[in-house]
């Protein structure tokens, strides 16, 4: 168990570094961050600055309304470590991050730790709610379908789950918004937070939008695994013990059948932290996803990398938890 846990921890740490490094390196391709720092005069080249140093050029550049000199640019570069290579900058970034210093936005100078503190809780609440709704629907649904597999209810519910899986979540979002918010006005159409109750109400529709597709996925997985488990001898044994079908389904068959669901649950949770962007857009939720889209569009590399790092950490943590859940679900894993 200890060795197993250690291997997983190492693997997850490695994943974290690979993901953040790739994000970090690829952002070098995204436009020129210097531009956002100093404006159009970021176009001043090294040669021009060398020419200034030699006294061949005047040290005041005017371009598109910006006035600046070589010193300004060099200072900006040095402050943000833009004069160093990517690996070095990445190293500095990682060290700072572990100190709790995520840096500041190149565009508006906001502290990134503030942005994360602001955005992350909303996203986490959205995802937790979505996953709870999804599991709350999927478990009884999957159990009921597997209990009488290939019969009436199962056949109908197969069609139902396929229908749910086939609705793109942006379409589902639009449909739910239209009916529950615009038409019947049960839930607000935008995110609002005047106390936990109003936020809860505002998160129901977006969570449901995410949850219905997830529920269908989980239901399919659970159903398949349950059908396999129900052929096991210990299920026959439980029936021979005279336990009720409900007792057998929930107390005996469910737990050994949760592995696929738990695995996909882990993968999904990580992906959802940043991947709920579409839903966050539809319902104007100020979450990580929305901020990520905005940061990409406004060319703000420190924010993008920091948020991707948050997503990666989330993914890593959730998947580690999933491993612990495996150990809870199957005692054989514990002694392996």
């Amino acid at each position: 168990m200890a060795q197993f846990a250690l291997r997983r921890v190492l693997q997850l740490i490695l994943v974290f570094f690979v993901v953040t490094f790739v994000a970090f390196a690829s952002l070098k391709l995204v436009g020129d961050p210097l531009f956002n720092l100093v404006g159009v005069i970021s176009g001043i080249t090294e040669e021009q600055c060398e020419a200034v140093a030699r006294g061949e050029l005047e040290d005041t550049f005017t371009s598109g309304g910006n006035i600046g000199d070589c010193a300004l640019i060099q200072r900006a570069k040095a402050e943000n470590h833009l004069d160093k290579g990517v690996p070095q900058r990445y190293g500095i970034w990682v060290i700072n991050m572990f100190r709790g210093d995520f840096g500041t936005s190149f565009v508006n100078g906001d502290e990134i730790s503030d942005i994360i503190a602001d955005r992350l809780p909303v996203s986490v609440r959205l995802i937790v709610l979505a996953q709870l709704i999804a599991l709350g629907i999927a478990v009884p649904w999957g159990v009921a379908a597997a209990y009488r597999a290939n019969r009436g209810f199962d056949k109908v519910s197969t069609v139902g789950s396929f229908a749910l899986l086939s609705v793109p979540n942006f379409a589902l979002g639009v449909i739910l918004l239209y009916f529950f918010s615009l038409r019947w006005q049960i839930f607000p159409s935008r995110y609002e937070n005047h106390g936990w109750w109003s936020e809860f109400k505002a998160l129901i529709l977006p969570a449901a939008t995410l949850a219905l597709g997830l529920a269908a996925t989980y239901q399919r997985l659970l159903r398949t695994d349950l059908i396999t488990t129900l052929q096991e001898d210990f299920v026959h044994m439980a029936r021979a013990k005279g336990l009720s079908d409900r007792h057998i389904m929930y107390r005996h068959a469910l737990r050994p059948s949760l592995f696929s669901v738990v695995t996909v649950f882990g993968v999904n949770t990580g992906a959802l932290i940043g991947g709920a962007l579409v839903v966050e857009q539809i319902y104007s939720i100020p979450g990580v996803g929305t901020e990520l889209v905005e940061a990409v569009l406004r060319n703000d590399p420190p924010v993008v990398v920091a948020l991707i790092a948050v997503v990666a950490v989330g993914f890593v943590l959730v998947n580690f938890l999933v491993d612990l859940v495996y150990a809870y679900l199957d005692p054989r894993v514990r002694s392996a």
Binding site: F234, H236, M237, A238, A240, K241, G242, S335
Partner: protein, 358 residues
């Protein structure tokens, strides 16, 4: 004392048939099986794979898949078992009747502690509270001869050896003190050395508790010393029934006879070949109206292929379903006829080695 209790009829199975519709046709797993069992008695049901012995047991335990078509009557201590099944009566199976399965490796839930799986029955059926159930569970582990029962109670099945697991399974089945225990090949999957211990344990428990036992096995030797009566099944029918000593000393049905010949014995000379049963295994899908063993039987005559021989004889003593029983005058004549022809009425070649029959 035991002889008195034997006279009280506990279980009565009348003309039981079980069919499974499949894509390829209807599988007739059990065809008109009847037997009775007295309180505290033990019955061995012996047969090869597909003979219908397990399906019979599962019918009693209400474990058949829903697609199964069952007919016939099952009466247990005055109650109509099939009606109880239809009405989904609680606290009957697992309480009055319990069952243990072949493979202790797979018949325990791998994700639940052994103890929980025992006390669960007590809590579910007898409404014991957690603490009492635990105490009784540990007592049960003790009863089935598991050392350190307190420690074992909190262990998971994978931490126990096969023999111990089967003891846990037995403890589980005994939890609510059933009056009938059905053991479906209880020792097939464990080491030979453990087999004897388990069989002795079952025997001891049966006698101590006045419980009846149906022991299902493919091994005639296993059934011999533990059962008051043995029923031999072939292709969904009981073909011979009687006391173990009669069956072993003087087998009448050609199948029983062949089965005994295929068994190694202490008194057979070294290097003598065991006799395999020739011919194809029985056809279970849409079987024709004939003796199912006829295609493999060295005594088969024309009338064996025309109708099904019914089980007849003195009930409680010896019953055989055969027109030409082995080791009788009729049987010897039939064998001689077939030998003269070189093949049986069903077309089975008479090999030189089969001459001992009859």
């Amino acid at each position: 004392m035991p002889d008195n209790s034997h006279s009280v009829k506990q279980l009565s199975v009348q003309n039981l048939s079980v069919r499974f519709p499949t894509v390829r046709g209807t599988v007739c797993a059990v065809n008109g099986v009847s037997f009775e069992l007295s309180q505290g008695a033990s019955l061995g049901i012996v047969g090869e794979s597909g003979s219908g012995k397990s399906v019979t047991a599962r019918t009693l335990m209400n474990l058949l898949p829903r697609s199964a078509e069952v007919s016939g009557g099952v009466e247990f201590e005055g109650a109509d078992v099939r009606r109880l099944a239809r009405e989904r009566v609680k606290h009957f199976w697992g309480v009055k009747m319990a069952m243990i399965f072949q493979d202790p490796m797979t018949s325990l839930n791998p994700v639940k502690k052994c103890g929980t799986q025992i006390s669960e029955t007590l809590r579910y059926h007898l409404k014991r509270d957690r603490k009492t159930a635990r105490h009784e569970g540990i007592d049960l582990l003790n009863l089935v001869g598991i050392p350190e029962p307190k420690k074992r109670f909190d262990q998971y099945p994978h931490e126990l050896s096969g023999g111990l697991r089967q003891r846990v399974v037995i403890a589980m089945a005994l939890a609510c003190d059933p009056s009938l225990l059905i053991a479906d090949e209880p020792t097939t999957a464990v080491d030979v050395t453990v087999q004897k211990h388990l069989l002795d344990l079952l025997d001891r428990l049966r006698k101590e508790r006045g419980m009846s036992l149906i022991l299902i096995t493919h091994d005639l030797g296993v059934a011999r010393r533990r059962c008051d009566e043995i029923a031999v099944m072939y292709a969904g029918r009981i073909v011979e029934r009687g006391k173990p000593e009669d069956l072993f000393e003087d087998p009448r049905h050609p199948y029983t006879d062949a089965l005994l010949r295929s068994m190694p014995r202490l008194n057979t000379p070294i290097h003598s070949r065991l006799e395999a049963i020739g011919g194809p295994p029985p056809e279970l899908i849409n079987p024709t109206e004939q003796c199912s063993f006829a295609p493999r039987c060295t005594l088969a005559q024309a009338d064996c292929l025309q109708s099904v021989p019914q089980l007849s004889g003195v009930i409680g003593m010896r019953e055989i379903a055969c027109f030409y029983p082995a080791n009788t005058k009729r049987g010897r004549r039939a064998l001689a006829k077939n030998r003269a022809r070189g093949k049986t009425a069903a077309g089975l070649q008479m090999s030189a080695r089969r001459h001992t029959s009859g």
